[in-house]
Symmetry: C2
Subunit: 240 residues, 2 copies
DNA sequence: GTCTAGCGTCTGGCATGCTAGCGGCGGGGG
DNA sequence: CCCCCGCCGCTAGCATGCCAGACGCTAGAC
């Protein structure tokens, strides 16, 4: 019933602090919100996205919502069927295979590039991360280990200044995050994963580009294989 | 020079056949138009994009234009400065290096994956393409050779069914296309490029994954080196 | 002469009303 | 009873009007 008008104190900022925050557009906020909703699994793959509900919930008009959905469609987290509706992208085994291939390609190339280029601070960070990984593996602390795993890969990527590649990898991570939940890693794999990470780190610190590439490829190929066995066990969880 | 990806039937006889209606939105049209304008160089890097002019020229409202510009900003061909303006992205040597890294990563991984998987038809296409390349190299037909070069890489990528990776590579090609114009390949390189392509094709046909990866990496590393020498010669042509 | 403050203009961001096309559902005919 | 067809409601797409912020220019003060 709000008659258009500026989004001043009462309509949009209801109960919100006058944050001197970063200059984030409303489209950005909607984008983050919807993406989080999808990744958390609160919206199942294939579910219809109700734009109006989003408008009401976030107190914005349809414009920023459309912009955000378009962005999500661009990175294939949602599919838009013209004049019909917007839906959360289904998880297809074929697509996941492809995302894993792209990740394998990028991360191995980046590992090779990072070889010998790491600063002392990053080396320390890497070795500390590995120590923590071993500790988490011993304690069978899966969530902790996962966080360290993600951090490990991020340290390497961030060591170079690759905004575009980082963006692609973050996009991939969004997709792969959706399958990780089902992909319960067998407990016995943790030490192996640790060893693979250590091999990658060693090659990078030693400055051996080819070896770093291959170590990272080998590591990520393990993940791919894990996925393939899972697909054979539960083919029902994927489309096409 | 071919268009984007959709492999659907082209609009050969519009207005005659009723069924294959053009399902392209206006935003898509604007996207293609502006992208083509940027890639052709009619809009210099750093130039301001006049949305109103686009609206008038294409006879659409600001909405599809904004949508298209947003998409182009997403793939970094334009940068949007909020409340100030939209500009054609400048060409920075650092970014180009990164794009080349990503391309190297993806294409080499894909070459490895394609090894042994090519159909007979694709093998024939590849060998025919190589024959033509040799002919174009002998005749010093640079434009023809370039077209064949692009086609060569496309055959390999298309042999697998990788829509996401293809999309990324097409996006990269858009950026790299902008520098290719300045990057006048020394005439002596054509036979070498041919040989590199042949090595890639041989490894793929032989089904040797590691060899195919390495051959493709080596090939694309040559391109990177060519770029680096050019940057040293003409650092003025790049920003930052 | 120089620096600064204020205003004008230009741009992107947002709200909202309207249109066209797809799908589902119910009614009518076979 | 079943199938087909047309109507209705839904959605994305589009047009348009308004708002707020960022530059730039100019005029006024020091």
């Amino acid at each position: 019933m709000s008659k258009a008008q500026p989004v001043t104190a009462d309509s949009s900022d209801a109960g919100r602090s006058p944050a001197p925050k970063e200059r984030r557009s409303k489209a950005d906020q909607v984008y983050d919100d919807v993406k989080e909703t999808i990744l958390s699994g609160r919206l199942d793959p294939g579910a219809a996205i109700d734009k109006i509900e989003i408008c009401d919930r976030l107190g914005v008009s349809r414009f920023p919502v459309t912009t955000a959905i378009n962005r999500l469609a661009f990175e294939r987290l949602v599919v838009i069927e013209p004049q019909h509706g917007s839906f959360v992208a289904r998880i297809s085994a074929h697509d996941i295979r492809e995302y894993m291939l792209v990740r394998r390609a990028l991360e191995s190339e980046i590992a090779g590039e990072a070889a010998g280029r790491l600063s002392d601070g990053e080396r320390l960070e890497l070795s500390r991360n590995l120590r923590y990984q071993k500790a988490a593996a011993s304690a069978k602390d899966m969530p902790g280990f996962y966080a360290l795993d993600v951090a490990f890969h991020r340290i390497i990527v961030r060591s170079l200044d690759l905004s575009h590649a980082s963006g692609i990898l973050e996009g991939l991570r969004a997709h792969l995050e959706r399958v990780r939940r089902m992909l319960l890693t067998p407990p016995g794999r943790l030490p192996k994963t640790c060893a693979e990470h250590a091999a990658v780190a060693d090659a990078i610190v030693a400055g051996d580009k080819a070896k770093a590439r291959e170590a990272m490829r080998a590591h990520l190929e393990q993940t791919t294989k894990l996925f393939e066995t899972f697909v054979r066990e539960r083919p029902d969880m994927f489309s096409t």
